[in-house]
């Protein structure tokens, strides 16, 4: 353990495996944010008039807002005029087949472990790959469409299924929801769209992989998932970005609608570039994710493994409107070095006999700050509502901070809500015990952290779980001395 400083230096210096830049011709519009820019984005995406109107309304509303400052985060001033709001790999047309996609792009996603050639998929996962502002390729579209499932980039959905998009977009997260939601609604470029028809059990995992490549740009994507009555879908999201000295902004919106008896599982492994060990660079991740359990007996489950980003501001939430509907939130948030995370969930109980479960595991190391922020709201009509929250913090250094901000707002006396919280440290005795069995300190930390996070990791689809376990270990290597 006397070499711990040396180990920390070795490991944290070359850690982030996804920090490369793809050298590809990009179309990047000039920096700045105004109505002309928004019109330009809309033209580039050949959008219908109603969508441009939506963007402009959002923009005008955004102008009246100030950045929220209630989170336990130190956010440097962001100059929104110094960002380019649209960057896309140059292509002539929408590629019809893989042959028409730039090989450099295919290589990029191969390198990230996301092959876009369907034959390479052994696991039965369909992928929508998004680079900067546009979707590069969506796999298995044809197979899925046989079942009536729509899985496409958001832009394509706007072209081909405008009615669905218009009906549901903004129905869960209004552009008036918050500062970043308004910003996203004004400038969003691409993302994924999913529609699962009535009674259909989606036969494979659907997945979007978000990649930021261009410098000085922000990524503002939207995802909209609509699960019709008695349908089921499991959806995964992964993210990485190159290592850069300057900070980059990512402000996304995810909306989920679950109708009667429908179930949606949404899993995220967020690994945006976290900045270097001195806290330089990294992604600012301001994301609004919300699911609406609209129908009776519907269920939405969020699982997130957050290891990346310099700053994370994110509260995947559920509105439990349908009677007997259920919301779940499973989270592992890891912060190391100078990362800051303020993450948690909001469970809003509106329907009768609605249930919610919150399991949050924070792991902090280095000089990082890691906060759980949660709200359980029981409305007057939500008779028989139940919530259980469990918030655990694991501290790996004496210089990090772990904070818990649980709020409860109960307006119905039949509600039962429970909150449990623990804080623990990895002790030197535990590490030495592992050492004595031949297990190095690094590996011991990995074992203990993965053991601690197991309850959440087990919720991830198999294909993701193994990667996520490795990621946890890598993110914390060298963090215990």
């Amino acid at each position: 353990m006397q070499d711990s400083n040396q180990i920390i230096n070795e490991v944290t210096s070359g850690d982030y495996k996804y920090g490369f830049v793809t050298d590809i011709a990009m179309e990047v519009i000039h920096k700045g944010l105004n109505e002309d820019i928004i019109r330009l984005i809309s033209v580039k995406k050949k959008e219908p008039a109603w969508l441009l109107e939506f963007r402009l309304k959002a923009y005008r509303y955004w102008l009246t807002l100030e950045m929220p400052d209630w989170a336990h985060l130190k956010i440097p001033l962001i100059n929104y005029q110094d960002i380019s709001y649209y960057a896309a790999p140059k292509t002539k047309n929408t590629p019809k087949s893989l042959d028409e996609i730039d090989p450099e792009l295919l290589k990029t996603f191969d390198k990230l472990g996301i092959p876009l050639e369907e034959r390479k998929h052994l696991t039965g996962m369909a992928v929508d790959a998004v680079m900067d502002s546009v979707s590069v390729k969506t796999t298995f579209k044809e197979v899925l469409s046989e079942k009536g499932i729509i899985f496409s980039s958001f832009s394509e959905a706007v072209q081909h299924h405008p009615d669905l998009v218009q009906e549901y977009m903004g129905s869960v997260v209004s552009y008036r929801d918050n500062f970043f939601a308004a910003l996203n609604s004004a400038v969003f470029s691409d993302g994924s769209f999913v529609y699962i028809p009535k009674g259909v059990h989606c036969p494979m995992e659907l997945s979007t992989y978000f990649r930021i490549n261009a410098a000085n740009t922000g990524q503002f994507e939207r995802t909209l998932i609509v699960a019709d009555d008695e349908s089921y879908v499991s959806y995964l999201e992964g993210c990485t970005a190159p290592m850069r000295d300057e900070n980059q902004l990512h402000a996304a919106i995810v909306e989920i609608v679950a109708k009667e008896q429908a179930e949606v599982k949404y899993s995220t492994v967020q690994n945006w570039y976290p900045g270097d060990k001195e806290g330089k660079g990294g992604i600012y991740n301001f994301v609004t994710k919300r699911g609406l359990c609209k129908g009776k007996n519907s269920k939405i489950s969020w699982t997130q493994v957050e290891t990346g980003s310099a700053i994370t501001w994110k509260y995947p939430s559920c509105i439990l409107a349908g009677d007997n509907s259920a919301g779940e939130f499973y989270s592992v948030a890891v912060t190391n070095n100078y990362q800051q995370a303020d993450t948690g969930t909001k469970m809003t109980h509106l329907g009768r006999n609605t249930k919610s479960l919150i399991v949050s595991k924070g792991i902090s190391a280095g000089f990082s700050q890691n906060s759980y922020r949660g709200l359980v709201k029981i409305s007057p009509k939500a008779t028989g509502a139940r919530n259980h929250s469990q918030c655990d913090s694991l501290l790996l250094s004496a210089t990090c901070g772990a904070h818990t901000f649980p709020y409860a707002d109960v307006r119905n006396e039949t509600a039962i809500i429970e909150h449990e919280a623990t804080t623990s440290k990895i002790s030197e005795e535990q590490l030495f015990y592992c050492n004595q069995r031949g297990i190095s300190t690094e590996e011991a930390v990995g074992l203990i952290v993965n053991g601690y996070a197991k309850e959440v990791m087990n919720k991830l689809p198999m294909e993701f779980a193994v990667e996520a376990q490795k990621l946890l270990t890598i993110s914390l290597e060298g963090s215990v001395g």
Binding site: Q436, R437, I439, L447, G451, K454
Partner: protein, 248 residues
């Protein structure tokens, strides 16, 4: 196998070992006895490289290597095992994951491939039967919620899995009832060969009725003040330690 020369060590600035000399050959069982505070546990901690203990003087040669230069994990991989007096609980880490990590680290050190999962589970089954631990063991978190006796049996189970050349049993008998003691000692005896060696650290003679030592040492104030055959243990049981202290 193990050659300790003039070993001095301290913890928190307090001198505990004051010139230990000890030589252990393969195939031998050495018992180290002594009153509380004589330095027995410090000796075992120093041998396995516990960073809380600082060696101020002396040498330890193990299998031709300068032991004190090796990291704690390399000492383990070189075949030194400590059965802890107070085994540590590691919540969330299952025994199967813990042992697989340990066994595979040992194998990697020897240049061997990791054990395939099915072979590993078979190995665990085989070894846990030595100390009569049941099939729930694999899924339980390391030592968490184990009774005192289970913890000690779990130590010997781990010893069986790692097949050390030199096993150090630190007060393995403390807190055990007679049945658990019999199981633990039986396990140790089953693992004994002519190729390995054992150091049994104990306060009482009781354990030595089950694990027969070749040599018995008495440790007092950080030095070995008497070395003799197994009959010494019986004599200590009868007379206590005071008659030796006067010789000091």
């Amino acid at each position: 196998m193990l050659e300790i020369k003039n070993l001095h060590a301290q913890v928190n600035g307090k001198k505990i070992l004051n010139g230990i000399n000890l030589s252990v050959r393969k195939g031998e069982i050495h018992a180290i006895m002594g009153p509380n505070g004589s330095g027995k546990s410090t000796l075992s901690s120093v041998l396995v490289g516990n960073p809380a203990f600082v060696v101020t003087e002396g040498h330890v040669v193990y299998e031709g290597k300068n032991l004190l230069e090796l990291s704690p994990e390399d000492r383990s991989r070189e075949g030194i095992f400590l059965s802890f007096q107070y085994p540590v609980e590691i919540p969330g880490v299952s025994m199967v994951n813990f042992m697989r990590a340990a066994v595979n680290e040992h194998r990697k050190y020897k240049g061997l491939e990791p054990v395939p999962a099915t072979d590993f589970l078979k190995l665990m089954r085989e070894k846990r039967s030595i100390v009569e631990l049941d099939n729930k063991l694999a899924g339980r978190s390391v030592n968490e919620g184990f009774s005192g006796g289970e913890k000690k049996r779990n130590e010997i189970f781990q010893m069986a899995m790692l097949e050390p050349k030199l096993a150090i049993l630190d007060e393995t008998d403390s807190g055990l009832d007679i049945d658990a003691l019999r199981i633990v000692a039986g396990g140790v005896n089953k693992l004994k060969t002519n190729e390995n060696a054992t150091i049994v650290i104990t306060h009482y003679q009781r354990l030595l009725e089950y694990i027969k030592p070749d040599v018995v040492h008495v440790l007092y104030k950080g030095r070995i003040i008497k070395t003799a055959g197994p009959e010494l243990a019986l004599e200590l049981e009868e007379k206590g330690y005071d008659w030796l202290k006067t010789e000091d």
